[in-house]
Amino acid sequence: MKAFSELLDRLVLTPSRNGKLRLLEDYFASVPDPDRGYGLAAITRDLDLRSVKPAMLRGLVAERFDEELFRLSYDYVGDLAETISLIWEGPGGGTRPLSQVVEQLNAASRSDAPALISGMLDRFGPAERYALLKLATGGMRVGVSSRLAKQALARFGDVDVTEIEELWHGLDPPYVSLFAWLDGQGPKPAQAAASPFRPVMLASPLAEAELETLRPQDFMAEWKWDGIRVQAASQDGVRRLYSRTGDDISAAFPDVIGDMDFDGAIDGELLVRKGDAIAPFSDLQQRLNRKTVSKAKLQAFPAFIRAYDLLHEGAENLRPLPFAKRRERLEDFAGHLPSGRFDLSPTIPFKDWAELAEARAAPPDPVIEGVMLKRLDSIYVPGRPKGPWFKWKRDPFIIDAVLMYAQRGHGKRSSFYSDYTFGVWTRDGELVPVGKAYFGFTDEELRQIDKFVRDNTRERFGPVRSVRAEPDFGLVLEVAFEGLNRSKRHKSGVAMRFPRISRLRWDKPPHEADRIETLEALLPD
């Protein structure tokens, strides 16, 4: 439990991705089975513990502490588990393995649980108490995605992350067979899940110069839809919907799951409808990152899958077949599916690259973000191989905006003003913020902007500075972004997708920066 509580504390405070990977790898290397497996499951939220309700914890506290002193403490600390972990007094001195804690929590009846928890709180130190309470209440938030945890496992065992993703849904905590394999002490575990996740094949970005080396007749083109890439697997009566990183998102999409009346695995784009049209990404977001979904959301944002590929049909694995063959099978297969819930991604006919470029410049639907090129002979392999598949994205939108506020970064950027809020001119000649970006520039450019911010600060608000932004003095930033949505939360009424700084326009006076009308013209209807 000690190693686990230390891991949690350090993960929360380590800003860098590499730092987190290193901490996780160290944990896997230094902690024995089965503890490391339970620790992993806690972080990937795959640990199914009978949860302890906050009301029960409050009851424990009330037995020992003055209500008023506890209230004052909780007000100050702001987190129930942390307050209890700090305020609790006990003889201490008795840690126990994480696996034992997990087993005891699972074995305890509802009436035994309070005594069990308070006994553990008595024996543990503050950091372990905190870890215990977060574990028991299911509130583990340490800034580590399940994808990152899998990458740490891959690095730890020196295997490809797709191998881990493929196995993941057939494994259960504490993952002893998985760790034995990663330790080099055992065979690779067999794929055990029904309807398992099959690691996704990804496309590399196309550099336009590459087109000269490619022959149009070797490729098929289709639209790149702006939804989320998913895999719908239905085999032996088990239906699952996976994200492209292998997270099981079935619970949020009962509408899709309900209509998966087939035996196979489809690779496609998850989209939502708005009337007869495909809704923009902002509507799809209403359905994402949820554990359950309300009736109202199901009705307002009905989901469907636009099929790109067929990975499995019945017991047959289609992935070794060439793409052209899989596409034929997919066309047959999709013909039998409920049409409101599944349809086929249409192909784009073209003779040469010029014709495709024309289609790309004038897509038939606003929810298209470019075109995909797939070699007709490409077999389906996990990861992002260079060559068989390309994504040729629509060019980003570009505007010139004026730097208005700068915020200090985190970690190694904590002494740099590295997060920038920029604005454009309104009809009244004021600047209104339209977005925020913290990458896209080089280290040298970061130093230049940082100096500009420090030399031209108008006001400070904690870590934020407002900088001089006047018609004739200020810093113009060329900002690239992928799209624009309406937003009630922003004063400007618009929200950018994926904004980044593409160039510094030291040469441009701020009054020549863009106006809000330019952005408003880009909004979807």
Partner: protein
């Protein structure tokens, strides 16, 4: 005589009418008795200042020689001011820090100023003084504050130096007290490398040394002849504000540490962007506050600056007379 007649809060600070002096006044007054050199307690511009010789030295370092019309260094013995007898006793907070005992007509009030009970080789230990009214600070007066041993915290810093030898370790410390204590703790843990310090710490470190406190080899952190790589795996001490300044850009991929009692609370750690929190405090934690009240056992406790409400509540629960003074002008952030 009621205790209030001897000493009571005013907008300037605690005032003693019989002696016509203030304790730690926040605005200029005729006569000021000062507990210690932190800027919110020791301000410039008073007519006359009484304080320990070390506190007077520290004030002169910070404000220049003419910081008050006149000064008087207090020794161990009693001093008469009009009809009142005052006496300075060590408070264990920082070098020169003192509690001020005020006695008149058989009543004694002790204003402890800021104090701590843990041992600290950079200043004299707190001395419990029997009294009728004990005025305590309440910076960390919540039962969630239980400071771990400072040696364990310094061990964390040493471990991080081993784990991340390629990164500079920037430790945020306040210039008076915390800086020298952290250096001393590092030395006592066997760390004998050169420690780099921000310019704002230099004069006070020099002063501590002149008072016989060994700090080992210190070097300025800002020298043009040292490359960025030179600072990999080194300890650099500076005021926390400097970490946001260009000053910090000279160090390789810094680990931001901060030595403060506030580092016990995760929200505070995150808010400050700290990667390595070191819970090292120059104030009492909850159990030390309670231990002190029980040990001195005054007939009344007055509570000032910090979380007064909780300490007053504890006194009520334990049948002790207590009240909050609601003094303004003291910052508990500077810890």
């Amino acid at each position: 005589m009621r205790p209030d007649d001897l000493l009571h809060p005013t907008p300037q600070g605690l005032f003693c009418p019989a002696g016509n002096f203030h304790i730690d006044p926040v605005r200029p007054v005729e006569t000021a008795l000062i507990t210690h050199g932190h800027a919110d307690h020791a301000r410039a511009g008073h007519g006359r200042v009484l304080a320990t010789a070390q506190t007077l030295d520290i004030m002169a370092i910070r404000y220049g020689d003419g910081f008050a019309g006149a000064t008087q260094a207090t020794g161990d013995g009693p001093i008469r001011i009009n009809d009142v007898e005052v006496r300075f006793h060590p408070a264990g907070h920082v070098l020169g820090s003192a509690q001020i005992a005020v006695e008149h007509d058989g009543m004694r009030i002790v204003a402890a100023g800021d104090y701590k009970r843990g041992s600290d080789p950079t200043c004299a230990d707190f001395e419990p003084v029997p009294c009728d009214v004990f005025i305590t600070e309440a910076t960390f007066a919540l039962p969630v504050f239980r400071h771990p041993g400072p040696q364990d915290e310094i061990a964390k810093l040493l471990t991080s130096l081993k784990d991340f030898p390629e990164r500079a370790h920037l430790v945020g410390v306040y210039a008076l007290g915390k800086a020298q204590r952290v250096i001393r703790l590092l030395r006592d843990a066997g760390y004998d490398e050169e420690i780099y310090i921000h310019g704002a710490l230099q004069t006070l470190c020099d002063y501590y040394r002149s008072q016989g406190i060994e700090l080992g080899a210190l070097a300025p952190a800002t020298r043009d002849d040292l490359s960025k790589e030179h600072f990999a795996g080194r300890v650099i001490l500076g005021p926390p504000s400097a970490f946001a300044a260009k000053w910090a850009q000279r160090f390789p991929d810094p680990v931001i540490a901060f030595a403060s009692g506030w580092m016990q609370v995760r929200a505070r750690i995150r808010q400050r962007g700290v990667e390595l929190p070191l819970v090292i405090s120059d104030h009492c934690d909850w159990s030390e506050l309670i231990q002190t009240i029980e040990e001195i056992d005054p007939s009344e406790v007055w509570v000032t600056h910090g979380r007064e409400e909780a300490l007053v509540r504890w006194c009520e629960l334990n049948q002790r007379r207590a009240r909050s003074l609601h003094l303004v002008g003291y910052e508990d952030e500077v810890e």
